[in-house]
């Protein structure tokens, strides 16, 4: 007999009190910068969101709120990472969403099952020494989100 799961509720606008007490955005302090902006369906930056990254290969985790950079987030991630699991939280989202960021063109099962347009939305773009990965909740070029 399986127990019903506790339902999700929004992280709300004040999550940083509890969830951003420490600097948690370096999965690898010597890693490559991965930055981006979280956008809503109107194309406006979301300044009360939060991104969590999980690199299962190196078992490193990070978290960054989007308040300080008005919708922007910034991490340092392992240079040799291929793909990271991503969770997106914000006020207005009753449950977090799951996506992935590929640091280079992938060769895994998920990547192979996506079409070119979907791949383009999950592939971080190089900008100098950094990688850029924007997350768009809705719209023509919305990020691909996965079942959880």
């Amino acid at each position: 007999m399986s127990l019903p799961g506790t339902p999700s509720q929004t992280v709300g606008p004040f999550y940083s009190i509890g969830l951003c007490r420490r600097e948690d955005n370096e999965l690898d302090p010597n890693g490559v910068e991965l930055r981006g902006t979280l956008y809503d369906g109107k194309g406006e930056p979301v300044p009360d969101g939060m991104i969590e990254l999980w690199d299962a290969a190196s078992a490193t985790w990070g978290r960054c709120g989007t308040a300080e950079e008005a919708g922007g987030f910034r991490f340092r991630v392992p240079r040799d990472a291929a793909v990271l699991e991503v969770l997106v939280f914000s006020r207005g989202m009753l449950q977090h969403e799951r996506t992935r960021v590929y640091l280079r063109a992938g060769d895994d099962e998920v990547w192979r099952a996506l079409d070119d347009a979907q791949r383009a939305r999950l592939l971080a773009q190089r900008d100098g020494d950094a990688l850029v990965f924007d997350i768009r909740m809705q719209g023509e070029d919305a990020t691909v989100f996965f079942e959880q």
Partner: protein, 245 residues
């Protein structure tokens, strides 16, 4: 002739719909901010190995001393009704999840968050930050000492007030067990009017968000006790509906 109805201009609270089970309705129109923030395209299925992925594990270094006592973080004691909130973190099979990180945050007794965005004209309490965390112990137990948070207005709709609640963030063992939710207090008169609470459409599932007052663990002459177990299920959409009670 049919007239298009904008669901975001409709009622703040929709009727019950048990078919949702423990799933929250992510595009619940009464919570207006969902409109531009919820994905519109169907979600893509992941292969089983990614659904079974382990998540992050946190050790004692994630916890500061007194992190589980929100009443002892400052020089003086915060104002308000002192409470303990405790319970177990379980998986769907009822197995306790030990050593998992639980983080909480909340308004003070006057209904004000210590956050620059909170403009509610209620007093801040110099002795209350409103944040805590702990790792679950044996039997998956967590325990916090805090004060009962106050209700506060928000601008979702005219005369909108949130029921008293404490925000919880829990990791679990699997990556997909990640949960951020809110714990409510029994008998709150605002339940019927709150779109966030009612975005859980199944009335049986809403009960899972409400703590139980517990006289047994209430400490005489000291603090009222609330018990609340957290079950980390399969996550959201795709969850099996609750059995009829």
């Amino acid at each position: 002739m049919s007239v298009a109805v904008d669901p975001y201009e409709g009622p703040v609270v929709l009727g019950d719909d048990p078919s949702f089970g423990p799933e929250v309705q992510v595009d619940y129109p009464g919570y207006r901010s969902t409109r531009w923030r919820v994905p519109k395209r169907p979600l893509v299925t992941l292969p089983e190995e990614l659904m079974a992925l382990d998540g992050p594990v946190f050790g004692e270094d994630a916890i500061d001393e007194l992190d589980n006592d929100l009443t002892r973080r400052h020089e003086g004691e915060p104002l308000g009704e002192r409470i303990t909130v405790s319970g177990r973190v379980l998986d769907e099979d009822g197995r306790p999840l030990r050593g998992t990180l639980v983080e909480i945050w909340q308004a003070n007794a006057a209904g004000r968050y210590r956050h620059e965005v909170d403009q509610h004209p209620a007093p801040l309490d110099p002795n209350f930050s409103g944040a805590g965390r702990c790792l679950t112990g044996d039997e998956g137990r967590y325990r916090f000492t805090t004060i009962k948070p106050g209700s506060y207005p928000w601008r979702n709709h005219p005369n909108a007030w949130r029921p008293n609640h404490i925000h919880f963030s829990v990791f679990g063992r699997l990556f997909r067990q990640r949960l951020v939710t809110q714990m409510y207090f029994p008998g709150d008169p605002l339940f019927a009017y709150d779109p966030i609470f009612n975005s859980v459409r199944d009335p049986e599932a809403r009960k899972l968000l409400i703590a139980r007052f517990d006289l047994e663990t209430t400490v005489p002459e000291w603090s009222l006790a609330y018990e609340w177990d957290i079950v980390l299920g399969r996550g959201g959409r795709g969850t099996t509906p609750l059995e009829p009670q």
